[in-house]
C-alpha cells in the first residue's frame, strides 16, 4: 500500500514535469507599432553629360549618347509615382571654344516634379552631344533644383569625362552640398571610365555618401539608374534633424529622443545634453563618416558624463582601412526610485570625439558628417540572479540534490526511529 502510494505520487510529479516540458507556453510577441509620420516625397535629379565626347561609339557598339538616351527612356517608364524626378544636362548647348561660356552651360531639361512620361521622353530625344563638361556648376545647379521640402534628395550624375572647368573642384562642390544639411546624396556613373574619371567620380560619391559605378554596357546603365531611383522611393527614412554641438557641456544643445546630424572637424570634441529622469535608460549611437581621403587609422569615442564631470559610461571603436563610417554607442540606466513621486531629472552630457586624420593636402572644412541618435526608454529589469528565474542546471546540481535528499531521508529515519523507541519505552 505504502509503496504504491509513493509510486503514484512520484509518477504524478513526473507527469507534471513532462507536461511542462512538452507544452511550453509560447510567449506572446508583443509588437507595439510606433507612430508614423507621413514622409515627404523623395526627389531625384538625373544629371546627364551631353558633352562632345558622348559621341564615341564604345558602348556595345553604339554611341554613349544613344545608350544614355535609351537608359533614360527606360528609367522614365519605370519611375515610381511618388518620386519627383528632374533631368538636367551639362554641356548640351554651347559648342564653342570659350571656356568661360562653356563652363556655365548647364540647363534644367525637365524640372523636378511629377513625371509626365511623354514630355520627359520628348525632351530627352532632342539631346545631341555638344560642348564642355562643367560638372561642378551642374552639381551646384542641381542642388538648387532639389532645394525645398524635407524629403530625401538624390542626384544621379552620368558622365564620360572629367570636369573641364577647373579650378572649381566638383568634389568640393559635392561636399559643400552635403554639408548644407539637406541630406543630399550624389550617385555617380562613369561611362567607360579612365583613371581620372574614376578618381573624380568616386570622390564625389564618397563626399556625399553616394555610390560610384563604372558602366561598360547599355543595359547595365539603365538597370543601375532604375535601382538608384527605386532606392530613393523604397528607403523613405527619417531625415535627421540638424543640430550643432558645442565645445563644452554647459553650452550644448538639449536633445530629445531622435536622430540628429552634425559636422565634426578632425580632432574636434562636440558636446550635447540630454535630460534623463529616474527609471529611464539613455541610449546614444554615434557614427562619424569618412567623406574624404583620410589616413589609415581612425576611431570614435562617445562618452556620457554627468554635469559634474564624472564619466558614466563610454563607447569607443577604432579601426583601419577603407570605410564609410565608424560608429559606436552607449547605454546607461537610472533605476526606478522607490519613492516614485520624487523622480529627479538630471542633465547628462554626451561628448563625441573622433581620431580621424588626413594628409595635408585634404581640406579640413566642412567637418566630417556626424550622425547622433538619442533614445530614452524605461530602465531594464536588473536580475537578482544571473540564471534564468534563478533555476539550476547540470549534473552537479542533481548530485547535490540527491546527496541532500539522502542525508535528509537518513536523518528523518533516525529521528523517527528514536521517537518510536522513546514512545515505546514510555
Amino acid at each position: 500500500m505504502i509503496i504504491s502510494k509513493r509510486l503514484a505520487a512520484g509518477l504524478c510529479g513526473l507527469a507534471a514535469t513532462l507536461a511542462t516540458a512538452l507544452f511550453p507556453a509560447a510567449a506572446p510577441a508583443a509588437a507595439d507599432d510606433g507612430p508614423e509620420t507621413a514622409p515627404e516625397p523623395p526627389k531625384v535629379e538625373l544629371v546627364l553629360d551631353v558633352s562632345g565626347s558622348m559621341r564615341a561609339n564604345d558602348i556595345d557598339g553604339r554611341s554613349r549618347m544613344s545608350a544614355a538616351k535609351q537608359a533614360f527612356n527606360e528609367v522614365i517608364d519605370a519611375v515610381p509615382d511618388e518620386v519627383l524626378l528632374g533631368i538636367r544636362t551639362l554641356g548640351a548647348n554651347y559648342p564653342g571654344k570659350d571656356k568661360k561660356v562653356g563652363c556655365t552651360d548647364t540647363e534644367a531639361l525637365y524640372p523636378v516634379g511629377t513625371v509626365d512620361r511623354t514630355e520627359a521622353k520628348t525632351a530627352v530625344a532632342t539631346l545631341a552631344p555638344t560642348g564642355w563638361t562643367p560638372i561642378g556648376p551642374a552639381l551646384q545647379a542641381a542642388g538648387k533644383d532639389l532645394a525645398g521640402g524635407d524629403g530625401t534628395r538624390r542626384i544621379v550624375l552620368i558622365t564620360d569625362g572629367e570636369d573641364t572647368c577647373q579650378p572649381l573642384d566638383p568634389c568640393e562642390v559635392a561636399r559643400e552640398l552635403a554639408a548644407e544639411g539637406t541630406h543630399l546624396v550624389v550617385d555617380t556613373l562613369g561611362l567607360v571610365p579612365n583613371t581620372k574619371i574614376r578618381e573624380q567620380l568616386s570622390c564625389i560619391a564618397e563626399a556625399t555618401g553616394g555610390t560610384y559605378t563604372a558602366v561598360d554596357h547599355a543595359d547595365q546603365l539603365s538597370d543601375r539608374i532604375k535601382q538608384l531611383v527605386d532606392r530613393s522611393a523604397d528607403n523613405v527614412v527619417v531625415t535627421p534633424t540638424v543640430t550643432q554641438g558645442a565645445d563644452r557641456c554647459d553650452d550644448a544643445p538639449l536633445l530629445g529622443a531622435g536622430v540628429y546630424s552634425d559636422r565634426e572637424a578632425f580632432t574636434e570634441h562636440r558636446w550635447y545634453r540630454v535630460s534623463v529622469t529616474d527609471g529611464q535608460e539613455l541610449r546614444a549611437s554615434v557614427s562619424v563618416g569618412a567623406d574624404r581621403a583620410v589616413n589609415r587609422d581612425y576611431g570614435v569615442l562617445v562618452r556620457a558624463v554627468t554635469s559634474g564631470g564624472r564619466e558614466l559610461v563610454r563607447g569607443s571603436e577604432a579601426s583601419s582601412g577603407r570605410t564609410d563610417v565608424i560608429s559606436s554607442g552607449l547605454r546607461y540606466a537610472w533605476p526606478e526610485r522607490d519613492d516614485s513621486d520624487a523622480a529627479t531629472a538630471r542633465t547628462v552630457c554626451i561628448e563625441v570625439s573622433n581620431s580621424f586624420s588626413a594628409p595635408d593636402a585634404v581640406k579640413r572644412t566642412p567637418g566630417l558628417p556626424l550622425e547622433l541618435s538619442v533614445d530614452l526608454v524605461s530602465s531594464p529589469d536588473e536580475p537578482s540572479d544571473v540564471a534564468s528565474f534563478g533555476l539550476g542546471r547540470g549534473w552537479w546540481l542533481l548530485a547535490l540534490m540527491v546527496v541532500t535528499g539522502l542525508v535528509a531521508g537518513v536523518l528523518w529515519g533516525w529521528i523517527s526511529r528514536w521517537r518510536v523507541a522513546v514512545w515505546r519505552t514510555n
Binding site: 509503496i3 512520484g10 510529479g13 513526473l14 514535469t17 511542462t20 516540458a21 510567449a27 510577441a29 510606433g34 507612430p35 583613371t195 574614376r198 578618381e199 555618401g209 560610384y212 559605378t213 563604372a214 538597370d223 543601375r224 528607403n235 527614412v237 535627421p240 534633424t241 543640430t243 550643432q244 538639449l254 530629445g256 529622443a257 531622435g258 536622430v259 529622469t277 527609471g279 541610449r283 549611437s285 582601412g321 577603407r322 559606436s328 547605454r331 550622425e371 541618435s373 526608454v377 524605461s378 530602465s379 531594464p380 536580475p383 537578482s384 540564471a387 534564468s388 534563478g390 533555476l391 546540481l397 540534490m401 535528499g405 539522502l406 531521508g409 536523518l411 528523518w412 529515519g413 526511529r417
Partner: protein, 298 residues
C-alpha cells in the same frame, strides 16, 4: 520482507531513470518547441531585399531568410538589418559574386561586419568575415557567427542584446581600377538556440532598435546658455515620451518576442533534481529501517 525491499529499490532505480529520461526528453522537446527562426537551415526561402547604403537606410531582412542576389557596384557599402532575440546565436552569411575575371586587375578582400542596435561593432565568434578573392575566383563566401544574444547585460558590457543587428558588406582592399564594377551580393541569416546553459535572467525594457524619428532639440527651460543654433524647437511639443521607443515599422520582429520566452531546460533540470532529491530522501529513510526494525502492529 526481502522481496518488498528489492521491489522498492527497483522502483527507485526505475523512477530515477525515468526522471533522467524526462530531463533528456525535455531538452529535446525544448529544442523543438522554441523554434529559432533560422532553424530551417539551408532550405531557407529566398526573398528580394535591396540593401541600403547606410545604417538608416539598411534593408530589412526577416530572420532565417536568404535574399536573392542584389546587384551593386564594387566599393558600395551594403547594409541590411535583422532582428535577434535573447537566447539566439545568430549567424550571418554572404555570397559575393565577383565581376568577370577579365575586367578585374587583382585580388579583392571583402568583409562582413555586424553591428548591434546601438551601432556597436559585434565580434564574430566564428566564421570567416574577411576573405580575399584571387583574380580567378568568381564567388566569395563570407560568414560570421555572433555570440549568444543575452537577455540583459551591464551597461558597461558590449554583450549582444535583443534588438536590431546591422550587417555591412563591403570590399576592404582592391586595385583602384576595379572600383565601380558590377557585383552581386546575397545575404542570409540563420540562428540556433543557445540552450538552457545560456539562459539568463533580466530583461531590457525595450529591444535595442534604431531610433525611428527625427530629433527635436528641446528648449532647456530654466537652463541658461543655449548654443545659438536652435534650429528646430518647433517640435518641442514632442516631449520625450520615455516608455515609447517605437520599433521601426520595417524591422521584423522575432517570432517569440524579443525576450526569447520564459522557457529553458533549466526548469527540467531543477524539477528533475527535486524528484531525485525526493527519491533519495525516501531511499535514505528506508535505509534506516534495516533488518529487525519494529513495525507498528496494525
Amino acid at each position: 520482507m526481502r522481496t518488498i525491499r528489492t521491489a522498492r529499490r527497483a522502483a527507485a532505480v526505475l523512477l530515477a531513470g525515468a526522471a533522467l529520461f524526462a530531463a533528456g526528453a525535455g531538452t529535446a522537446a525544448a529544442d523543438d518547441a522554441t523554434p529559432s527562426p533560422g532553424a530551417s537551415g539551408t532550405g531557407a526561402t529566398e526573398e528580394t531585399v535591396q540593401p541600403g547604403t547606410g545604417f538608416r537606410t539598411a534593408g530589412n531582412l526577416r530572420p532565417g531568410v536568404r535574399t536573392t542576389p542584389a546587384s551593386a557596384s564594387t566599393g558600395d557599402y551594403l547594409y541590411w538589418v535583422f532582428p535577434a532575440a535573447a537566447g539566439e546565436v545568430p549567424t550571418v552569411s554572404a555570397t559575393v559574386t565577383l565581376p568577370e575575371a577579365a575586367s578585374r586587375h587583382g585580388n579583392q578582400t571583402w568583409q562582413l561586419d555586424v553591428y548591434d542596435g546601438l551601432r556597436r561593432r559585434q565580434a564574430c565568434a566564428s566564421g570567416k568575415p574577411t576573405r580575399t578573392a584571387s583574380a580567378q575566383d568568381t564567388q566569395l563566401e563570407l560568414s560570421c557567427r555572433l555570440r549568444t544574444v543575452r537577455a540583459w547585460s551591464e551597461a558597461w558590457a558590449d554583450d549582444p542584446l535583443p534588438g536590431a543587428y546591422y550587417i555591412r558588406l563591403t570590399v576592404l582592399r582592391l586595385p583602384d581600377q576595379d572600383l565601380g564594377l558590377p557585383v552581386q551580393a546575397q545575404i542570409g541569416t540563420t540562428s540556433t538556440d543557445a540552450g538552457g546553459s545560456k539562459a539568463v535572467d533580466g530583461e531590457l525594457a525595450a529591444p535595442l532598435t534604431p531610433v525611428a524619428k527625427a530629433g527635436a532639440t528641446l528648449d532647456p527651460d530654466a537652463v541658461p546658455s543655449v548654443s545659438a543654433t536652435e534650429e528646430s524647437d518647433e517640435a518641442a511639443d514632442d516631449e520625450a515620451d520615455p516608455s515609447a521607443s517605437p520599433v521601426p515599422a520595417g524591422l521584423a520582429q522575432p517570432e517569440d518576442g524579443w525576450g526569447g520566452g520564459w522557457w529553458s531546460d533549466r526548469w527540467i533540470w531543477t524539477a528533475a533534481g527535486g524528484v531525485l532529491a525526493a527519491l533519495a530522501g525516501v531511499a535514505g529513510y528506508s535505509l534506516t529501517r534495516g533488518r529487525g526494525r519494529v513495525r507498528p502492529v496494525a
